[in-house]
Structures are given as C-alpha cells and as structure tokens.
Symmetry: C2
Subunit: 348 residues, 2 copies
C-alpha cells in the first residue's frame, strides 16, 4: 500500500464510519443531563492532586512513577527538560462516541455550507450526503468521503478556520449528553495533566484528529498551548492576497498522525522521545511502544472504556477506538490499563 | 513548477553551490585565530543584557520593543504565552560562509562513508564527487546533488544521526577561522536570545537547514531546546527492527523550510503567529512578512553582513544569503537592518 493510499484509507475511514454507521460503537449511551461547568485544572499545591481518581492500581502507578522521576539524587531522576508526556485526544482526554467529535463538526459544517453551494444538490457525493443516502455514500467510497471531509475543512485561511471551530465549540452539543463537546473532557485526565505539569512535565497532545481543529480550544480545556499539539494536517500554503499575508488551507491531506504516524509526528514537532504516553486505542500502540522502549524510567497507560452507565463500554469490536492488541500486550509491556468504571470517581 | 520540483531545486542548490563554487560568496574571509570558548547566554539579571551591541538604532529598537510589549497595563502589552520570537539560523545566529556549515558536514560525511562504499568509485555522481570533478558534478545536476545529499544524511536512525552530528560538531573546524563551527555563533545574537527569554519570550529557530542537523547542539549553543526548532526535514519512518523501535531516516525530502515554506513550518510546529522575527536573507522575507503583518506590536530585524574584516560582507550578489528585496523593502515595512560592522562590538 502506498503512503498516499494509506493516507486516503485513514482519512476516509473517519468520515465513512460516521456517515455509514447507524449503530453506536459500544454499549451504553449516557442520557442527556444538565451541562456542568467545564472542569478546571487542579491547583498544583492541592493536598490531593488527583481527587477524581479512586485509590486503585492505576492511580498508585501514576503517583509512584512521578515520585521516581522527580526525586533529585534518585537513580531514576529525570531532568525537567526531558519530562515530556504525550496524550492521545479522542477517547483519552475527551469522549469519542457515538462518532469522533471532529466528524460531528464536519457534518455540521457541510450543512452550514450547503445553502451557498446549490450545485451540491446534483453533484456526487454531496447529493448523497444532503439526502442522507447511505447506499450512495458507500458507493462513493473513500474518495467520496475525503472529498466531503476536505469540503468541510479546507477552502479558508488558518485564521478563518480557527474562528469557525471556536464558534462551533461554543454552540454545538452532544446528541445524547446534550453537553457542549468541550465539556466532555474527562475530569480525571484534566487533573492528571495538571498534576504532571506541577511536577515539571511538558504535556503534549498527539492525536489522529486535525491539529487545527484542536488548537483553538485545548488551552482553555486542558491547559495545553497550541504549540504543544501534534495532529493530522491538511496542506497549507502561504499567499499574499490583496496585500494581506494568509495561510490557505488546501483540500489535500499532508500528514496522518495515527498508528505508526504518531512516533513520526512526535519526532517532527517535539524532537525528543517522551517518557510517558497515554492512549486508549490501538491507534496509540506505536506511540506507547516508542515512548516506553527508551532507556530510563518510562510510563505507558491505556484508558479502557468499561463504563456503559456513565460513559460507553467498548474495546475489541468497536469501529471507533478499537482496542485489542493494546489489551493483549499491556501486561508484558508493563503498561497500566485504567478501568474507567473502577478507577474514575467521575467522568466529566 | 511542481512542489516536488521546487523541493528538488531548493535542496539541490545547497549542494551544488558548495560543490561547484570556487569563489567565496562575499568579500572578506577571517584569518585563523585561536578558538575561543563558546559564548554563554547573558544572565537574565545582568545590568546590561546586551553588552555586545553598540548603543545604535538597532539596539535601541530592540529594547524599546521589549519594553512596550512587557509593560503591564500598557496599550501594547502582550501576554507571555503570545511572546513568540523566531530566528533564522544560517547567517542570523551563526555564520554561513564560505558555505552553509551543514554542507561542510555533508561533504565530511560522504568522505567518511566512502571507504565502506567501494562502488562509489565508478558510480555517478559519487565518482565525480570523490575525484573532485566539478564539470561532471555540474552535469549530474540537481538530481545528482540530491543523491549525494541524501547519501550523507539518510540511511540511519534518528538517534544514530544525532550521534553523528554531535561527533562532527566536537571535531570539525571552519576552514578559515579554524574554530569549531559551534563557536561561530554570533555573541550579540546569543545575548539577544537570552534577553528575550528573560522577558518572557519563547525563542524558536526557523531555518532552511535540516531540523535534525540542528537539534543535537542548539540547546548548548543558543539555549534553545530541541522542541523549539523548525527546519527542513527528510522523510522518517517508524519501524521495529529485531524488537527495537526506531525512526528510520529515508532518502527523500519531506519539507523545505525556506522562503514561503517558513510561515508554513511555523504554522505546523508552533501554531501561532510570532510577534518578532529575525533573519538575514531573502529566504527569510516571508517569515518577516508573516510575523510583522499581524495585529498589535510586531518586530522584524535583518542582520546585514557588512563586516569584511571581522566576518564577511555580502548581500545582493551573494550565492549564499542573498539579500536584495529585504534591503529594498525594510524601510517601508518598518524592519530594522542591523549593520554588523556598526552595531556589533564583537562577532563571536
């Protein structure tokens, strides 16, 4: 399979999964509840920096690791500059069911654009999308899916796109919880990010999602600045339009930050091997493998979606966030598997 | 011209310029002198944070800008998180004559590899390189130049390459100054980097040079960590070899961080528009333009190589570090042109 073909497969799958599937990826689907305020990072000096974690093996392992690498003079001390921790986003820092939230954004965006594109009514695959014709969408295949995805994401400048994303996060709500999507960040993970930073770690997102879809809101929600976000990219081109310099977003995939792409994305942007990695699916396997196979103390953790009551339960058979190899190999690789139902006091 | 063709041109030019040119890019060529210790960053609390700058218009403009953006409550105050400053490397932070130092590295590397490649003696363009046959090298064209450059840079892992670069910087010396290359960082610029950081700026390198050629030594020399280096890239591939995960460096150009590529590289890695940019050639024009055209206070500075006695003097007609449009447009764009002969008390 060529690199271009792999890119097409990865991106196309995202949209196809959303447009074609009527079933939920896992069991459980939380009912609507009153939106709660966005979780605030735990203060660095709090007595308990991880109040949303039960006192189980996952929490113990985290605290023990942080203690080892920060104990000055200890045999496993790691200098602050090398304390790099990487986090997958979808399913690790916020929810990803019943579809990746970026896909909900793309669908909303296509619907918003449709009135300005009367030609879409008769132009495949847009006609099928507008009619909700799943059979025709399936027939359009990955190529059609990418065309739809590019129409939703490209054709604007980087600054325009950031504004579009910001507006969407302020208004769009999740179909079953009725929460704004940005209020579906996991409280235990937001605490964990703050806990690591309070211990000298630099926290990065390394996500298969689009980097420009994340940057406008991750600082507010996770405390992670835009320059610490690694993600998939579409091509961008510098141009001066009527005297104004802009970066134009082009309808072409530049980089897919998933699976074996994650260590590559880490290398491109960070340039050093992290010492801790957090994921939830087999799309994070290589990131965990790369991180935990370096010399010195290393930490890998998988968030296992086991809570059909408060969130969703899914792993081996899910079309989103599939987790099989990670579960099989975690014990022998020394990776911690956090059980959402048992390890987390609250979800959001 | 296609993107691939542009890449080839940019990369090919680098090597061709070195292999084919017998003249120096500019007038002046410092004589050998005793190596001096590497310049240390100025302490943040020093009375004069820029002791190597004369009290001229360039220094005044720098100090005035930093004062404006750091004065809390002032109309031009910029929050710490947005104080991003970007620096070109070759010709801006360290010297670039008589050839880009990375080319000297590539030539040394090819010579070191040659004994293990007896087939190069009869295989173009390696045979021409080994014979020093400039006519045959010219005939091999950009394609030949890229083949040589890739042989010097690829075919190893990222960690092996970092070791190779580190060894080279410890031993290789500049042909006319006889200094180790890393001791040809400009003292006034190293002070400027430290001065900006002491005022809350995050300092980044944004160079046409290879990102992996810079990362092993820039922290030591400039105080800039590996994750704050943007540069040209060759393709990298994740693989598990005999149970050990590695990132393999492939003989293919992935991204050229020069000219209109610089704002794109900034966007890929940093994700916000800098407020200050420092360059020395027309390869930095778009970076300066992008940086200084944003809203709020902005700063652009061009290092002008005017000192044939202590360094080199070159601009419009140089095959390296050509500076013409920048000189023409600096006044109307409000960019400062620092005159090395007049503005700098010392060079190294």
């Amino acid at each position: 399979m060529t690199a271009r073909r792999r890119k097409a497969t990865a991106v196309g799958y995202l949209l196809l999964a959303a447009l074609l599937s009527t079933r939920c990826g896992g069991s459980g689907a939380p009912a609507a509840s009153a939106p709660a305020p966005a979780p605030a990072p735990a203060p660095a000096a709090a007595v308990d920096p991880l109040p949303s974690w039960n006192d189980g093996p996952a929490r113990k392992a985290i605290v023990e690791f942080v203690g080892r690498v920060t104990r000055e003079g200890g045999s496993e001390f790691v200098p602050v500059a090398e304390r790099i921790a990487v986090f997958d986003n979808d399913g690790t820092l916020w929810a990803e069911q019943p579809m990746y939230f970026q896909l909900a954004f793309a669908i909303d965006r296509l619907k918003a654009l449709a009135p300005a594109h009367p030609e879409w009514k008769t132009r495949p695959p847009f006609d099928a999308f507008l009619r909700g014709d799943k059979r025709a969408l399936a027939a359009a295949g990955e190529r059609g899916a990418i065309e739809l995805l590019m129409a939703a994401h490209a054709g604007n400048t980087t600054e325009e796109f950031a504004r579009i994303v910001t507006e969407w996060t302020a208004t769009a709500k999740h179909p079953t919880t009725n929460r704004p999507y940005v209020e579906m960040a996991y409280k235990p993970m937001v605490e964990l990010l703050a806990y690591l930073r309070a211990n000298g770690f630099k926290t990065y997102i390394v996500s298969g999602g689009g980097v420009e879809f994340m940057r406008p809101w991750v600082e507010r929600v996770y405390g992670i600045p835009p320059e610490q976000v690694v993600g998939s990219r579409i091509k961008v081109e510098y141009a001066v339009v009527d005297g104004t310099p802009v970066l134009r977003r082009l309808p072409a995939v530049d980089f897919v930050d998933d699976k074996a792409g994650k260590p590559v994305g880490i290398h491109q942007v960070i340039g050093r091997r992290p010492i801790a990695a957090f994921g939830n699916s087999d799309g994070d396997f290589e990131m965990l493998e790369w991180t935990t196979s370096g010399p010195g103390p290393r930490f890998g953790l998988i968030v296992h979606h086991t809570d059909a009551t408060r969130e969703w339960a899914y792993d081996r058979d899910s079309h989103i966030g599939k987790l099989a190899r990670g579960l099989d190999e975690a014990p022998k690789r020394g990776w911690i598997v956090a059980d959402m139902a048992k390890d987390w006091k609250v979800i959001w």
